[in-house]
């Protein structure tokens, strides 16, 4: 059984966004790390992980229904 999350990959990671990122299907219990690996996202670029607006790490498990944002920090001025 799968659940839906609202996934957003920003900046350089945008090209890894799935077809319908706002209704992305996951297996409940999957970690952010596993999900990103399945999408082909280079893990070392996924520095900022936000789940429902809170900073989390790669090993946080998803249940379904979350808003997940992955952001590579930028440093330009």
């Amino acid at each position: 059984m799968s659940e839906i999350i609202d996934l957003r990959l920003f900046a350089t990671l945008q090209k890894f966004n799935p077809a319908s990122p706002d209704t992305f299907a996951i297996t409940p219990g999957v970690t952010v790390r596993d999900m990103l690996e399945q999408l082909g996202v280079p893990i070392e670029k996924a520095k900022l992980i936000f789940v429902n607006g809170l900073k989390k790490d790669l090993d946080v498990a998803l249940k379904g229904g979350e808003r997940v944002g992955i952001f590579p920090p930028v440093g330009g001025g």
Binding site: R8, K45, P73, V74, G75, G76, G77
Partner: protein
């Protein structure tokens, strides 16, 4: 002497109306300059005395429906150090000068290059190869000559940072590299100065505020010893002028809030923007 100055100010004040019809008393730039000359003080001091009497220096008239005369006085008595005078720093310095932050310390060791022309407010064709901090100081003086401007054509380093930022109420991180961002954070925290840190790349940018006791940049970039080798995503995204200007404007809004309210909506939070789809999100870092 002080009474004489007040008398002259009262005489120089002229009745005016805001666009909504509300009355106020105004003092023109010419009158401010004349009184500064007459009493041997800076124009900024005359404007501060005027605000004390509820007389609005006309250059700040359109600030007044959002700020009180007391707020404007607080801004005029404040000092912000802008580190990096390129894309973010150019717009930040100009905006702070226009809104009336009374003292600006401008720090940048670089000179303008052609590739800066797409986004750096103070870069012009004539100023290629000229130092950014000098261009910034010249521009600020032409926009608002009452601002006390100090500029330093050098890079911020561990050895000079605490001396260069001394006396600031806020530091503005407008830098383009991580090691110097950490240097500025360390110096600001040691001196007890809040720092507003902005960064851009392509259509994206982020902004946060770091108080002396906060974990700060490591919450975004990881521990300093690892982060100094981190290449920001901007290296493969370039830098776009509308992103730079947007994030610089947000940085100024935050700086003014810190000065006036002694508080910050972005402390331990990260405002992320992505102009590809107009995402604006504020996320909790702790």
């Amino acid at each position: 002497m002080k009474n004489k100055r007040i008398e002259s100010l009262e005489k120089a004040a002229t009745p005016k109306k805001f666009p909504d019809g509300a009355a106020y008393r105004s003092i023109s730039m010419a009158s401010t300059n004349q009184l500064a000359l007459e009493f041997g003080v800076s124009a900024r001091e005359i404007d501060i005395s005027a605000l004390d009497r509820d007389i609005v220096p006309e250059r700040y008239a359109r600030n007044m429906k959002s700020f009180t005369t007391r707020d404007q006085k607080t801004l005029l008595e404040s000092c912000v150090t802008v580190v990096g005078n390129g894309g973010l720093g150019g717009t930040v310095a100009e905006t702070l000068a226009r809104i009336g932050v009374g003292s600006l310390i401008l720090i940048d060791g670089d000179s303008f290059e052609e590739s800066n022309l797409n986004r750096q407010l103070f870069s012009t064709e004539a100023l290629i190869d000229q130092p950014k901090a000098v261009a910034a100081a010249d521009r600020i003086t032409s926009v608002n000559a009452t601002i006390q401007v100090t500029h330093h054509c050098c890079n911020l380093e561990d050895g000079n940072a605490s001396k260069l930022i001394a006396g600031s109420d806020v530091t503005a991180d407008c830098l383009d590299n991580l090691p110097t961002r950490f240097t500025l954070q360390k110096a600001s925290q040691t001196a007890g100065i809040p720092m507003v840190s902005a960064a851009v790349g392509g259509h994206s940018g982020h902004l946060t505020t770091i108080f002396p006791e906060d974990r700060g940049l490591e919450l975004i970039f990881g521990p300093p010893e690892e982060a100094v080798n981190l290449k920001g995503a901007e290296q493969s995204l370039g830098n776009l002028p509308f992103t730079v200007t947007t994030v610089a404007a947000l940085e100024c809004a935050e700086i003014v809030k810190i000065i006036l309210q002694k508080d910050s909506p972005l402390r331990n939070r990260l405002l992320i923007i992505d102009l590809n789809d107009y995402t604006f999100e504020t996320l909790r870092l702790v």
